[in-house]
């Protein structure tokens, strides 16, 4: 009998997802080349989704976006495009050009992320917020967001 018994399917599926998105070991019996290709395809798909949600961030990396994002995201479970982009942008904030930094500040003024990612959790919209930018501030009031800058970035 190859069936691992009651509860075996749940554990087997979790082990496979861990191997694909959380840096877990590949469960026995799978073709590592094929699963590796699936992992890279998944990272590429995530990079595309994050790039659409964070256009300035992706633009900052140009043709290197896919590889840059994949390098950061490998082993980090997907948290949705908004959260993944937020995590990547915060990890690279010091080196981002002004437009991408402003995108991050506007995002943080509009959205509150939970401390730990929950599967499929969406960020909560903020009604009021104030965020610093180099050379300005982002002001969030219900339904509106302003970037107030001394000099445009």
């Amino acid at each position: 009998m190859t069936a691992p018994g009651a509860g075996g399917l749940a554990a087997a599926q979790e082990a496979l997802v861990r191997a694909l998105v959380a840096g877990g070991p590949l469960p026995p019996g799978f073709d590592p080349v094929a699963v590796g290709a699936a992992e890279r395809a998944l990272l590429g798909k995530r990079a595309g989704e994050v790039g659409r949600a964070w256009p300035e961030l992706a633009r900052a990396y140009g043709d290197g976006w896919r590889d840059a994002f994949a390098g950061w995201a490998r082993g980090r479970p997907p948290g949705g495009a908004r959260r993944d982009g937020w995590g990547f942008a915060r990890a690279h904030a010091a080196t981002l050009p002004p437009a991408a930094r402003r995108e991050l500040a506007v995002h943080e003024a509009c959205w509150a992320h939970a401390a730990a990612p929950t599967a499929g959790a969406e960020p909560r919209p903020r009604r009021l917020a104030l965020r610093r930018l180099p050379g300005g501030v982002v002001v969030r009031v219900p339904g509106r967001v302003w970037v107030v800058a001394r000099r445009t970035g």
Binding site: A10, V17, R18, F30, L42
Partner: protein
């Protein structure tokens, strides 16, 4: 189906043509014709197709309380709109989330859909989202889990469900069924319809060095509600069903093989990004209609 076409449908009067379409689908599978997946980026293109038979919308992108006006206009024109779920995780070991099932049912009611569709796949496990459709092992245990989840889902749906086998780059070890037996047994157990993605059949066969027509010869083609077609490309040593590349000749050729055996009631082109000029999409839709021997919808 334990639920009739739903109490919710009574709340919102539907065009006669759709009520007729829904009545037909319960007795037999409705004729849908040729269509293309509705996405916000190509909503204008889709709306202007004069002969559009049906369309499909990603269910998770729909707010049942306020669907996109463009979709409601299509519905009111008599174009069938099929909600297509991608995150229900019917193949997961754990029971489907009742809120996700309710959402799918709400989409069907809001859009006056003749049916809804989902995948034979799982997308999360142990609290982790995969972010993609993953294959299930072809074992009795997985078949039992799928059967239970499909029954939980159809019990709440106001319309029939069609399930779609996915494209997967890898297989689970220790399969107890081959693909045709697994699918046939699942359809027999649950009574649901089949959404056959010809591009997935093509991709899986190409990546495994198998003959895609061999699967067609063994599937219950009379259970097909409609088929998907999409483009893909080869990289990393594998053919990827990307939905962002042109339709390969091999997918059209396999569609011709399918139609020669039994023409499906509907054929739908899926395009999910890197949208080409309208003329290119029109040419793909024309090629698709010609392959099926149906009039052009453009």
């Amino acid at each position: 189906m334990t639920a009739g076409p739903g109490t919710g449908i009574g709340r919102r009067p539907m065009p006669v043509v759709l009520r007729r379409r829904m009545r037909r689908v319960r007795g037999m599978i409705a004729e849908l014709g040729v269509g293309i997946g509705w996405r916000p980026e190509i909503a204008g293109f889709v709306a202007e197709l004069p002969g559009l038979g049906f369309t499909e919308v990603i269910a998770e992108s729909v707010h049942p309380d306020r669907p996109w006006p463009g979709l409601l206009e299509l519905r009111d024109r008599g174009v069938a709109v099929v909600p297509h779920g991608v995150r229900l995780s019917l193949g997961g070991a754990e029971p489907v989330d009742p809120a996700r099932v309710a959402h799918l049912a709400g989409c069907a009611e809001a859009l006056g859909a003749p049916l809804v569709s989902e995948h034979i796949a799982f997308v999360r496990a142990g609290g982790l989202e995969a972010g993609h459709l993953l294959p299930v092992p072809r074992t009795r245990e997985a078949l039992d889990a799928l059967t239970a989840n499909i029954r939980r889902t159809t019990a709440e749906l106001p319309v029939p469900l069609a399930v779609e086998p996915i494209a997967a780059l890898f297989d689970w070890p220790d399969a107890e069924y081959d693909e045709a037996d697994f699918l046939t047994e699942l359809l027999d157990r649950t009574g649901v319809l089949l959404l056959l993605d010809v591009a997935n059949v093509y991709a899986n066969a190409r990546n495994r060095g198998a003959d895609p027509t061999a699967l067609l010869d063994r599937l219950p083609l009379e259970r097909i509600a409609y088929v998907h077609l999409a483009g893909g490309s080869e990289h990393d040593g594998f053919y990827h069903d990307t939905h962002t590349d042109p339709l390969p000749a091999g997918v059209l050729a396999l569609t011709a093989e399918l139609c020669a055996r039994r023409r499906p009631p509907g054929l739908l082109l899926e395009r999910d990004g890197r949208y080409p000029p309208a003329a290119e999409l029109r040419a793909e839709l024309d090629a698709l209609a010609a392959t099926a021997g149906l009039p052009a919808i453009t």
